[in-house]
């Protein structure tokens, strides 16, 4: 496998899978914030 193929693979897989992972992390954080503010509001 050439160096160009390895670099392309890392960039493409990193963008797609890494992007998906970061989006999940952001969604988890936002849900946690919403839950905390809802609990605060109810209290």
């Amino acid at each position: 496998m050439s160096l160009t193929a390895i670099v392309t693979m890392l960039i493409l897989c990193g963008t797609v899978w890494g992007g998906f992972g970061l989006l999940i992390r952001r969604a988890l954080r936002r849900e946690a914030i919403k839950l905390r503010s809802q609990e605060h509001f109810e209290a």
């Binding site: 160009t4 493409l12 797609v16 989006l23």
Partner: protein
């Protein structure tokens, strides 16, 4: 005011929508198209169109469903006005026509899952197994089974859809990851990776690569089909739009990439000499004829063959569920109860799908006519957003209550200019390609894969929908839109 059930959480919505987006197209079409269009350079174009087609349309669809709380036709009436019910009717018709024959595909996957479990597939030559099954009464039986399975989920409404998605989608992800890991650890698999990821930069000057990348995004993410809109009806009132759209786009393309690695590494490791023949064998040829042969030559191949057809069956069934829900939801908007609406939608699917199950020409014709029709659906979603006011939608709905990721003016620009242009270019390109496949009969409406059959069936459908426009709008506006419960 009637209440509509909602997804219990964001993750219920995301998993159900991912189930809609991840279908057989990710597993059997993406690897083939990536391999035949330059590998690495195609992947660059494919990633660009995720951002320039799929995600902007997903954001628009989520906004429609969240605002209107009605099915496709009702959403178009609410968002664009009474005069545009026919556009919503077109989007609903396209997805429903696809539901009829997609059930046949889901049935094939179930049959192959059973055959791999029972050992029947390993004991039979794969070409003769396919020839003895596809387009025979056996395929009608599996089509009926697939339709009944999907109906048994849609029967319970959004709660049923969420429960099934919570089990099938994580399992599907795990299966695809296992299969991809197995494939890359086979001796010789690096040739598959090199084939998939080596970029040929001059290829990026070839418009065909870009058009194929745009087509793949349009077909495998489900953006613009009205399915995301349908699931968005069941969003919680303060649910986010844009972050969910990005999650689904990237999640769907993550599965495609894994499937590409899985299929191409398997092909190159097991039968490198026949790679051109294998990837050129078409969707059914690759999946149902070549993959069983490749698994048969792999250590512990029977186990991996079962996992492969299990993943394919899950992908097909979750997409079939969303297609059936779309048809059912539109009938509910016309005043049917869920059970009656589901009975009508599934019943029509059983009857019309049977023709595709029995006759290859009907199957190919319907796949061709309504597959290209989805480009028009995407165009109509963008036009309805324009009619409502794209900037107003961005400010009030996308960046409104519950927003987790603010969207800038780029989205307004993409929906206003880029999506309509992409849709028109794609439609013209596909119809022009059909001219090259059969120069003498390309306008003959009786040829199964001609531009003529597309234009004739589209014209008939559009004329009927325009005539029925007033009636469709009145039937929907006669009833109040439900509120999220």
């Amino acid at each position: 005011m009637t209440k509509v059930d909602v997804f219990s959480s964001r993750w219920g919505l995301v998993l159900a929508t991912l189930g809609m987006a991840v279908g057989t197209g990710n597993i059997w079409r993406f690897p083939r198209v990536a391999a035949t269009n330059g590998g690495g350079s195609f992947l660059v174009a494919w990633l660009v169109f995720l951002l320039l087609w799929s995600i902007p349309l997903m954001i628009a669809e989520f906004s429609f469903g969240k605002t209107a709380r009605r099915g496709v036709i009702g959403s178009f009436v609410t968002m664009a006005g009474e005069r545009f019910a026919w556009m919503g009717g077109w989007v609903a018709l396209c997805a429903t026509a696809i539901m009829f024959y997609y059930s046949v595909v889901a049935g094939w996957c179930l049959r192959y899952l059973w055959a791999s479990l029972s050992g029947e597939l390993a004991a039979t030559e794969s070409q003769s197994f396919w020839d003895g099954f596809a387009y025979t009464p056996q395929a009608v039986v599996t089509h009926v089974l697939a339709m009944l399975l999907a109906a048994s989920v849609v029967w319970f409404g959004v709660r049923g859809i969420e429960k099934v998605a919570r089990i099938l989608i994580p399992t599907l992800f795990v299966l695809v990851v296992i299969l991809a890991i197995r494939a890359v650890t086979l001796p010789g698999a690096e040739a598959g990776l090199a084939f998939l990821f080596t970029p040929h930069w001059p290829d990026l000057a070839n418009p065909q690569i870009w058009l194929e990348a745009l087509t793949q995004n349009a077909w495998d993410t489900g953006a613009g089909w009205g399915l995301i809109l349908t699931y968005a009806i069941y969003m919680r009132a303060k649910e986010d739009v844009s972050l969910n759209a990005f999650l689904i786009g990237f999640g769907n393309n993550s599965v495609s990439l894994l499937a590409g690695i899985m299929v191409l590494c398997t092909v190159f490791a097991i039968n490198p000499g026949a790679q051109a023949e294998i990837v050129g064998a078409g969707n059914e040829g690759l999946t149902f004829i070549w993959m069983p042969q490749l698994f048969a030559q792999m250590p512990a191949g029977t186990l991996f063959m079962i996992l492969f057809f299990l993943a394919l069956s899950f992908a097909a069934l979750t997409s079939q569920i969303s297609l059936l829900e779309l048809a059912t939801r539109n009938l509910i908007d016309f005043g049917f109860s869920r059970k009656a609406a589901l009975g009508c939608a599934a019943g029509a699917g059983l009857v019309f799908g049977s023709f595709s199950a029995l006759h290859q020409e009907v199957f190919k014709n319907q796949d061709w006519v309504w597959g290209v029709g989805l480009m028009l659906s995407g165009l109509f979603v963008a036009l309805a957003a324009l009619r409502f006011g794209v900037e107003q939608m961005r400010l009030e709905v996308v960046n409104g209550e519950g927003c987790d990721l603010r969207v800038g003016r780029w989205w307004t620009w993409l929906i206003t200019w880029v999506i309509p242009l992409e849709a028109v270019v794609l439609m013209v390109w596909w119809l022009w390609q059909a001219r090259g496949w059969d120069p003498e009969n390309w306008l003959n409406p009786l040829q199964p894969e001609s531009a003529g059959t597309v234009l004739a069936q589209w014209a008939l459908a559009l004329i009927l929908l325009v005539i029925l426009n007033r009636w469709l709008a009145r039937r929907i506006l006669h009833r109040d839109a439900p509120e999220p419960g």
